[in-house]
Amino acid sequence: MTDTRRVRVSIVGVVAVALFSTLVGRLWFLQVGSGAVYVKAAKENSVRVVQTETPRGRILDRNGNVLVENRVAWAVTVSRELGEPRLSAVLGSLSELLAIDAKELRKRFEDPRSSPLKPAVLAVDAEVPEAARVVVQERGEDYPGVRIVPLEVRSYPDATLAAHALGYVGEINADELSARKGEDYVLGDTIGRSGVEAAYENDLRGAPERLTVEVDPAGDVVGDPLKSDAGEPGRDVVLTIDEGVQRVAEESLASAILQARTVRNEDYQAGFANFAAPAGSVVVLDVNTGGIVAMASFPTYDPAEFTGGISTERYAQLTEDDSLFQPLLNRAAQGTYAPGSTFKIVTALTAMQYGYRGPDDWYTDTGSVTVEGTTFHNAGGRSYGSIDLRRAMTVSSDAYFFELGRQLWRTWKLEDQERGLAMQTVARDLGFGAPSGFELGEAAGRVPDPEWKRDFARVLWDDPQKVRENEIWYPGDQINMAVGQGDVLVTPLQLANAYATLANGGTLRTPELGMQVRDVNGGIVRTIEPVTTRQVPIDAGQRQAILDGMVGAVADPSGTAYGAFAGFPLDQVPVAGKTGTAQIGSATDAKGDTSLFAAVFPAQAPKYVAVAVIEQAGWGSRVAAPVVRRVIEAMYDLPLTPVVVPHSSASD
């Protein structure tokens, strides 16, 4: 190598040495020479105090089966700071990546219900496959402002099972937030919106974590906290619901309703159309605790639809679209119905307690009762001859109770107002006409009396003449009420609870879904004890007479539910039952009858009450009774009888 080459190679070497020296010098200046300046800057960059929700508690059935739990769902969020035209470009790329229409994404971005302070959630869960997550991570520069974040969402292992009892959750909104001022909620938190999710919100939510944490440039929490108040994870709520019974109740109810829709209503006023049978419900109560073993309402909804927020359109559809029959409504507690003949236990107790007619007194049923020119007929145009209370319950004579209604009215009108309104008193004692205190909330129902009718007329009419005509407590009002018609309205839950009170000898309890609250380790935080509302004086002999009549309704060949229980092993599980077929609507607006059935079992030592109420479906014996039968079979591990709604005639 020549010397000049050597010199030139050396020049390159010298330059390299200079470069490296510069780097080391600069490094020393930045890291050692600058003291704590950058350390401080780094800390200010990244330390914040934030609050995070703890995992929400699970909801279990009475046997510990999981009804609601949590799982992680991935969500795609977009920063609200993007601004046009970058936002449009990002929505366009996301639309392609996620295969969701760009207009839909734009709508979600602009959804007024979401917090303007947090990135907008554009896609959740199944909409965000792993392939899409990889692309966003790898090609982040193509998706500015886009982040993939994990969300903890509710998971429903049994899909729609017990949806009305469980309820659903949503993101807390501004109104709820201000209503809960002082509590530890922040915008974006999850809150129970209905059902157990709402009723046991404080237990399920637990206490949020408060952490001094490091955040990344987007403000998101990363890594282990510097200082932490761990909060408390949500507690599990154990329900009185039995998953298996609940499932059979729902299946049987749905089956009966779908079949009823194929049956022609033989009432000429209905134009011989098929029954509409839009909806129905089933309630199973433990008569000794008030615990709800099953609570079904049809039609139902899928609480998973609320995962990640339900669209405004879908929510409007669920609540306003008449063709869906209000699937969010829990008809078991919030539907109010004329109870029809199932109300006769009230009339019967009234007659015996207030000395109108003893259990063994005979009454001659001629098929009708005429009062002041109006004739009230037995259903189906039958007459039962000489009958006592048991027989009247078994065959469901209306005339027997019409006559009692007439007597009550006469007493009210001519002698003793209080004794004349004894049926109202007994009804209220048994829990009708007022909320029971059920955790999930309920309709009050209605026990009509002269005072109510006067007030109602004044609300209904402006014309003083009309008010005068309609405020009168007519004999027909009391007579109709005696058979559960007219203005009396009950919820299926109230009906079950009244039967439970009769069955247990007179203890009216608050129906409950909650049984126990447990911590995350399964330790019992508290047991939800049965709540006694009041003791109702019920004479044991009178109670037995009613139950005997109800046993006959199921077991006696002339009983109204005999057909529905054909082949049922009554020797193993004796059942006392009462059918009900309530007329609704008017001459101008004919609707199918409400089909009801209430059962107490085992009849000799009652443990449970089961009630089925199905709207516009016809005879109680044909539609509601087979549903209850199947539920009882499920509870005693008997072979399940398919629900068959007969097309041929049967009477109530």
């Binding site: 190598m1 000049t4 080459r5 050597r6 030139r8 190679v9 020049i11 390159v12 070497g13 330059v15 390299a16 470069l19 490296f20 510069t22 780097l23 080391v24 600069r26 490094l27 020393w28 930045l30 890291q31 050692v32 600058s34 300046v37 950058y38 350390v39 800057a41 780094a42 800390k43 960059n45 990244s46 992680v72 991935w74 792993e130 997550r133 990889v134 966003v136 991570q137 090609r139 520069e141 193509d142 982040r147 993939i148 974040v149 994990p150 490091e214 955040v215 990344d216 440039p217 998101d220 990363v222 890594g223």
Partner: protein
């Protein structure tokens, strides 16, 4: 001594010296592997929380980079086996092979961060400009070797022309950083090749004028100029109003500065873990070293790089032919400038350009090309006696 003709001691020595495998510069070969190992660790540190936060494997980038390093080591071995003088003879072909790739990427390449520099084949990306750096050095060294001692003005013009074509193509992508690296490599090769002082001065003048015209004529995007000039005024950076380049630089300096003498500790750097430094696993990988390993770690890494550059420089002097010397010098310039530019930009003494730190930054093409380059230098060392 009759009968069997034993080889004389001298002959045996000559044979031994001609056996290239006995003269491998193990220090040189080991250095890029050691630096790559550190690089993998740093890539892991800077991406794991971000990946985990999105439900992806923490090792996603490390695995991909690990594959690139493995391929790179193989490429280095292959580059050592084939006699580099064959490369010298084939240098025109190498030049001709690379040009279509640079042209093709402008037509068919994928665009990322506004630069059309990648061929996308399924999940794999290939950046031809990384290979072009090595190829241009080989080609230019070959040309200058051919005309050694006689590099007059017309030949110099041809050499500059040869270099200008790939540089122009890379500028079209546009990848200003790589173009500058190419220019520096060309300059170094020409200096050692014996370009006369006044010729060199003219070339420098032309280059500066061209740059000035380009800036005036809005050839560059505003963000490119932003990046180039943001290091000039670093006195006040308000993170709310800062341009992206100013923000990058401020976060980069904060991360390195927070490291102090001994660093926050591996995986313990808050700015790194929390992804405060943009592009941290690629262009700003040095900030991870700075924050987590401190001055001790940063200086040690620079020392490893310096050691590597010194070995290359030493081989430039030991080379058995002028082509070998020029090859080493071109690659030395490539490494030294990339290291200086990349580390310098993270510390605010050089403009921000998208140049990776060799063996450290995440990126397959650059890693493989760098290993290939070291392989060629080692090749020159192996055959210094043959």
């Amino acid at each position: 001594m009759a009968g069997v003709a034993l080889p004389s001691t001298q002959a045996r020595r000559a044979t031994a010296e001609a056996m290239p495998l006995r003269h491998v510069d193990w220090v040189l070969v080991a250095l890029p592997m050691a630096i790559s190992a550190l690089g993998l660790l740093m890539v892991y540190s800077s991406t794991r929380t971000r990946l985990a936060g999105q439900g992806l494997s923490e090792l996603y980038y490390v695995q991909r980079q690990g594959v690139a390093v493995a391929i790179g080591v193989i490429a280095m071995a292959v580059a050592m086996i084939i006699d580099y003088r064959k490369l010298r003879d084939m240098s025109p072909l190498i030049y001709i092979a690379v040009m279509p790739m640079l042209a093709g990427v402008l037509l068919l390449g994928a665009t990322r961060k506004g630069t059309q520099a990648w061929f996308q084949v399924g999940p794999l990306q290939f950046q031809p400009s990384e290979l072009a750096k090595v190829a241009l050095v080989v080609a230019l060294a070959g040309y200058c070797h051919m005309h050694r001692g006689d590099l007059d003005a017309p030949r110099l013009a041809i050499a500059v022309g040869l270099a200008a074509l790939p540089i122009a193509l890379v500028l079209q992508q546009p990848d200003l950083g790589t173009a500058i690296v190419l220019m520096v490599c060309v300059g170094a090769v020409l200096v050692v090749a014996g370009v006369r002082g006044r010729h060199f001065a003219v070339l420098a003048l032309i280059a500066v004028t061209a740059m000035g015209v380009a800036v005036k004529a809005d050839v560059f995007q505003e963000y490119q100029l932003d990046r180039l000039t943001s290091f000039l005024d670093q006195s006040t950076v308000d993170t709310q109003t800062a341009t992206r380049a100013e923000y990058n630089l401020a976060q980069s300096k904060t991360a390195i500065g927070a490291g102090g003498l001994t660093g926050a500790g591996l995986f313990a750097g808050t700015q790194t873990k929390l992804s405060y430094v943009p592009e941290q696993h690629t262009d700003f990988i040095f900030t991870v070293v700075g924050e987590e390993l401190g001055f001790a770690g940063g200086a040690m890494l620079l020392a490893l790089f310096a050691l590597m550059v010194w070995r290359i420089w030493r081989i430039a002097l030991l080379a058995s032919d002028f082509f070998g010397t020029l090859l080493c010098i071109g690659l030395l310039a490539m490494f030294a400038f990339q290291i200086f530019e990349n580390v310098g930009m993270t510390m605010g003494i050089m403009p921000i350009t998208g140049i990776p730190l060799p063996f450290m930054s995440y990126g397959g093409s650059a890693t493989i090309a760098s290993f290939l380059a070291v392989g060629l230098v080692a090749n020159v060392h192996m055959r210094r006696f043959s």
